[in-house]
Subunit: 303 residues, 2 copies
């Protein structure tokens, strides 16, 4: 994956301890920060996505990252670069969509607006770590359970439908165009947990999140496919490798009650063992990366 190679170069050039999780945890300021770009015809297509929906999605993907860090979403800045054909109506609807996702006092506080050839959205989200325990991909430990919140594969199913000109079933379309971040689940975890834990959203797919946590923590995640929450009619490739559901994978002590669906446990080893169709299939880091590469293009990679 080209972008993952670039991330290695950036890590080496910057030689920074911060680059790794989706959010950077800035302990001295008591905040986390994350930033995502959404580019027309790479991440979205205005043929099937309205200005309101683009506003929703741009904010939702960043709030999802803040929630997965364990922090409380607090503030956003939005920088828009827009072609000359974009009118006032587009801007109004975009910001109405963006604002509609700002629950519980989250505020859009600034940004930038410039010209461009295509629509380009960059959102930066800041969360407060006050009263919360911040997660890390490196914190999965042997004996912990693997918990999932949200359904998986619906967004990729929605995209598949949209790109083939369909606009139904609505649940799949909405999952893709107006994803809902798992604010409540993440908040319950980070406000109540005492131990170190791992948490990630499934923006790049469920298997990507499972594999990243497993490999960054140096453990093996045993996961039952049958337990993964999903809608009927969604192909298993989409459930496992489809991105942009913005569900959550949390790896927490077995005794910790956080809701969600327990789909597996952490044992000695490395990677992911998936129990599926009566067999156990092992996925190394490379297996997952090449599966994502084979199934999907234009995957967005957070530094």
């Amino acid at each position: 994956m080209r972008e993952k190679d670039f991330i290695s170069i950036i890590k080496n050039t910057l030689n920074s301890d911060y680059i790794g999780d989706d959010c950077a945890y800035l302990k001295d300021l008591g905040i986390v920060v994350t930033q995502d770009n959404l580019v027309e015809d790479v991440h979205f297509c205005l043929k099937y996505m309205s200005a309101f929906q683009l506003g929703v999605k741009s904010v939702a993907v960043n709030i999802s990252d803040v929630c997965a860090s364990g922090a409380e979403p607090a503030y956003l800045t939005i920088a828009l670069s827009l072609p000359s054909y974009i009118d006032e109506n587009f801007i109004k609807k975009f910001y109405k969509g963006a604002k509609s996702v700002c629950q519980n006092g989250v505020e859009i506080v600034g940004g930038d607006i410039t010209g461009a050839d295509k629509v380009f959205v960059s959102v930066c989200a800041i969360g407060s770590s006050k009263g919360r325990k911040i997660s890390s991909r490196k914190n999965a430990k042997i004996g912990y359970k693997v918990v999932v919140s949200g359904v998986h594969g619906s967004s990729a199913m929605g995209l598949k439908l949209l790109t083939s000109g369909k606009k139904a079933p609505e649940s799949f379309i909405k999952a893709h165009l107006e994803p809902t971040p798992q604010v409540e689940f993440c908040s319950q975890v980070s406000k109540n947990i005492n131990s170190d834990y791992a948490m990630m959203d499934t923006s790049d797919g469920l298997m990507d999140a499972l594999s990243t946590i497993a490999n960054d923590s140096g453990v093996l995640l045993k996961v039952d496919y049958d337990k993964i929450p999903r809608e009927k009619g969604v192909d298993k490739n989409l459930v496992l490798f489809g991105g942009e559901d913005y569900g959550i994978v949390a790896v927490v002590p077995k005794s910790f009650d956080c809701g969600g669906v327990v789909v597996g446990e952490v044992v000695e080893g490395l990677g992911v063992d998936l129990n599926i169709d009566g067999k156990t299939v092992h996925y190394s880091k490379q297996d997952v990366e090449s599966s994502i590469f084979n199934h999907f293009e234009g995957v967005n990679n957070e530094i």
Copy 2:
């Protein structure tokens, strides 16, 4: 100006108190935050700007905004969207440039990397307000003095030379491609001042900063053109209306000693009175906006 109209729509849609200054001051978190987009062929051209210089400029413009708020620059995230022809070498040089501007412990802590048709850079900068007094454009008061740090017009002169195929004199070229934020001046002001004060960088031109402060504060700034620091050979239109110098205008009590060059004072009235060529020329808000519009295109407008 089209983008300024859009900013009004955004302000109305969001109905937020934060939208106004270049940085949003988030008092509860003790931070300021700002974000700027730089788009290929709108804000820069790779024909005359190297990857290293793009890294320098992307970070410098955001550090300049943080400094002008009075906060101490602390952390940055950088989201890059890149065409497929961009190679590892470009990324390395970009981040080396970006890192070279990160003085005094400023760190790049994350961001995003995606595909795009053109090079698109979005930088978010966070500053700490600890031990500093934060500025506002609304804080200029009658009896205050107008102080300028940095030279004006050199960047626009550099751009004029570059677009006509010239690469000298070096001071003008460097002013445009590798601007230096006024870190020390701003820090001296915000660490030592006790009164409310106004401070802005001159990213959109010296007259834009003077006029914005005057109109947002409801006062008249009397300024002597002859006192404005500038290099020899720079046309007065460029000194007054040329952008991207990243100098500073600070409006502070007369008794406050902050270095820089005193160019004028604040009196009763509204707008800017410029003493130039033995005459006093009055600039209303509209005069300045239409002058910028007439002289320059593609002006970047912070929300």
